[in-house]
Symmetry: none
Subunit: 201 residues, 4 copies
């Protein structure tokens, strides 16, 4: 009467596929990654892949979902904090640290070529909303507390924090030398400058 063989084994395998796919997508991009290469990396047969995911695209969506959940969890974990401006900075640090996994930047790039796809667009929108939704209340609180500048609407400030983060991730695969750990402080400094209320005209 066993429904599936073993729920734990099922989950483990599903995650193995996700992990393998993340690696392949990051290295080769979505279109140039074959389901066969994912299967090989995951150590499964080609048929098995489609037991876990109905299409190649669906794995990518699962990865995106995973990231969104992670972000959501991170912000939830900051619930009690009373230093909103530092939460923002910490998030930036957190995001920079995640970019230490060399697959992150590659994966982001892989997703880029799929922006036309409605499912991907929706997943990305959910992700952005999650980040935005995590940052916005802190930006508003920090503005209310006078700790960051207020002449720019909170939403727009959030967007610009994300601009810098995006650019930072982009650079990681660029040609010129630019490494996540070495530039992390500069990243934080830059965000601080963007948010800073004291600015000589």
């Amino acid at each position: 009467m066993a429904r599936t063989v073993d729920p734990a084994r099922y989950q483990a395998r599903r995650e193995a596929i996700i992990d393998a796919a993340l690696t392949r997508f990051a290295a080769d991009g979505f279109d140039r990654t074959t389901t066969a290469s994912i299967c090989k990396a995951a150590g499964i047969g080609s048929g098995t892949f489609f037991h876990y995911f109905p299409t190649k695209l669906s794995v990518l969506l699962a990865i995106l979902d995973y990231g969104t959940k992670e972000t959501s969890a991170w912000f939830s974990a900051q619930q009690g904090r009373t230093d909103p401006d530092e939460v923002i900075i910490d998030y930036v640090r957190h995001a920079a640290d995640e970019a230490t996994d060399p697959r992150v930047a590659g994966f982001i790039r892989a997703v880029g070529s799929l922006m036309a796809d409605p499912d991907v667009a929706a997943a990305l929108a959910r992700d952005e909303v999650t980040v935005h939704g995590g940052l916005l209340p802190r930006v508003e609180a920090a503005q209310a507390a006078g700790r960051i500048r207020s002449e720019v609407p909170a939403g727009r400030l959030c967007a610009w924090v994300m601009v810098v983060l995006d650019g930072f991730l982009d650079r990681l695969i660029g040609e010129l030398p630019f490494s996540a750990p070495a530039e992390r402080d500069m990243l934080v400094d830059t965000v601080r400058r963007i948010l800073s209320p004291s600015w000589p005209p």
Copy 2:
């Protein structure tokens, strides 16, 4: 003895193909763009395409080259100027203005998935070197003149100007509302903040 081919007509057609390819690449990404769709957009037969470019990839490289040349020309045109810090700001404005063409961001994304290709990597490296080579002397001059901060090496400052520019371009295709003209001033302000020598710790 007809010398055949009007060189002007040849160039025009070549540029028509480049333009069509730029449009398609931007909209669909490199792999999802078929040579057939480029031909259709350019109004030529499938064989004609390969009279002008040996491979699909080669058009993309031509587009990159075109951009590099444009950048190079822009910096050359600023030769005589004596206000290095404003040249930097003007370049940022110039780049933002180019991003008004909605295809720019999409194309950049399309290129992203090809970073593994050595020819593309080389072309991108050339492009980055061009921008870097255009900015660096101005940053150094501005530092020497005490008009921007000097505690960060000139090269690193250049990189960070480019970080913000990259992030800005990325956002243009994002889901949340973010338009080039509306955010141009904020972009300039952000770059000024990054370069500013006076900033209270």
Copy 3:
């Protein structure tokens, strides 16, 4: 846990493809044979073809290999014999009999146009070496026994036996009437004349 794939079925299909390809190559030549026509003749889908052979050329190489193995086996089967000159004649008869398959001559012709290809050249060299390696010891033994002429080196005699065989195969597709069964005796007679020690100058 089904071990899938019946190895026998796999082999059968592989041979069906080889057989279909042999037929098509013989009839149309290599370049004018489409993989589609092979698939159709073999009763398989276009994709299946490439599960068994990576390229169109590789099937042709497999056919050549098959022939080389067959020749090798034939000579092995003659191991115990003590009448070397008759082994030579029997090989000639054997080769003539194989040429009864009307596809043989056409296939040989198809291979001709690929001689420039290194893989084909290597396979043909292997084949020639096999025939040569099969004939040479018999020629030498027959010479030692004084049963065939000795004033011509053994290797050269082998080559001339092959000359006549090649020419024989060529004629089979010629325009003038020339059929394998009808000319078999003349072939044997011709080889005997070439090898004969007694011949008045």
Copy 4:
């Protein structure tokens, strides 16, 4: 009022194309030879080619025709001779000498893959008929004079002389060492053996 520019120039160009095509066909085979490569070898533009020949195939037919005419002329030149058996041998020598041009064997091979084409088949038939028509009367005369064997019909003897010639040409591109000049005597010897009336049963 000039009809064509200059008949001599026209003929020269036509022959230049034939010569270039012979070279390319011999090296690459018919299908793998592009009209472009012929044009390049002939030093003409691609359009010019089709001023002289309506199709790629037609050049090949012209080459075959040229060979047939040459053979025909050779036999005509032997008209007065009274030693028919030596004419046969001389033709064999003549054919062997022509095979000194390394393109001959390659071209023959190239033609092989087109045997299915009716025009090519017809041209080849014409060629064979020419050779056959040149040899047959000499064989008959030699038989009547008792200088060659008579128990085999003249036509069949002709065919077997051609078998050996064909095989000889084939070997020239084979892998094992086999050169036209070195083996010419053996070729003549072989033909003599085939024709010889005196043969111990």
